[in-house]
């Protein structure tokens, strides 16, 4: 049996890991998702990249994180924290050939998203499922 045919941690599931268990595909976005246990807490970490409207992404992030927090609480989990960082990259173009500068703004931005959650009193599988739902909501709204 290879290491990738079951879910035991026989190898390092870091960002470069390519096994199926470490990746979650949703609406055209590939998220790297890792789960860990730390002193009674379940720790989830996800990273992904998508291209979207900045304002829409901001709304989606707030909504998706709030909904995940509500679901975790409803499942009986205690949230240590759920934190997300979004690194935005956008391009603006400026050009002039005579006496007027033309400005071109990209309608979309490149967003590198990380979502980290530390949760107590919840099974690893349950937090993993809640993370996937959250990531799917983000990717679906911004596809």
């Amino acid at each position: 049996m290879s290491n990738h045919e079951h879910h035991h941690d026989h190898h390092c599931h870091d960002e470069n890991c390519t096994c199926e268990h470490c990746h979650f595909e949703s609406h055209g976005v590939t998220f790297h998702l890792s789960m860990d246990l730390h002193d009674g807490a379940v720790v989830a970490s996800a990273k992904g990249h998508l291209q979207t409207d900045h304002g829409l992404l901001q709304q989606t992030m707030c909504l998706a994180l709030k909904r995940m927090a509500d679901r975790i609480t409803a499942e009986g989990g205690i949230i240590g924290h759920i934190k997300s960082a979004v690194e935005i990259h956008s391009v603006e173009g400026y050009s002039i050939t005579s006496d007027t500068v033309t400005m071109e703004l990209s309608p979309t931005v490149q967003a590198h998203i990380t979502v980290n959650a530390i949760v107590f009193c919840l099974e690893t599988e349950c937090l993993e499922e809640q993370m996937k739902v959250c990531l799917a909501e983000i990717s679906k709204a911004n596809q």
Binding site: H38, D39, G40, A41, V43, I78, G80, H81, I118, F120, C121
Partner: protein, 123 residues
């Protein structure tokens, strides 16, 4: 340890503030910093009055382990709790660590200078 070492080497700060994760045991970090880098630390634990009632029993072993080594414990979000509850919370904390200094604060108002002084050990 590596980050702290590099910060000291490259920036030589008077103070270095390390914000740990919520599952860290600061006293263990203090020991490591002392042994590895001969650095002294003060530990300030931030607690949440609005959630204490829900988390104290199920997370007691971890919370106790975090509070045991604390020089100061801040009770934050006091605007969201009743006075009776805050006193009960202070007792819970004192039962774990009788020598720690407990201070109340609220991030929606300005933090009093005396609290900053206590955190850095000047009160």
């Amino acid at each position: 340890m590596d980050s702290v070492y590099r910060a000291r080497q490259e920036l030589d700060p008077e103070w270095l503030i390390v914000e740990t994760t919520g599952v860290a045991y600061p006293a263990a970090i203090r020991e490591n910093l002392k042994e590895a880098l001969d650095m002294d630390c003060r530990i300030c634990i931030l607690t949440d009055a609005s959630r204490w009632g829900r988390i104290f029993l199920p997370l007691r072993p971890m919370l106790s382990g975090q509070i045991e080594g604390a020089d100061t414990v801040l009770i934050n979000k006091i605007d969201l709790a009743e006075e009776d509850f805050l006193q009960l919370m202070e007792k819970d904390i004192h039962d774990i660590n009788p020598s720690t200094q407990i201070l109340r604060c609220c991030a929606t108002t300005q933090v009093a200078p005396v609290i900053w002084d206590a955190i850095i050990g000047e009160v």
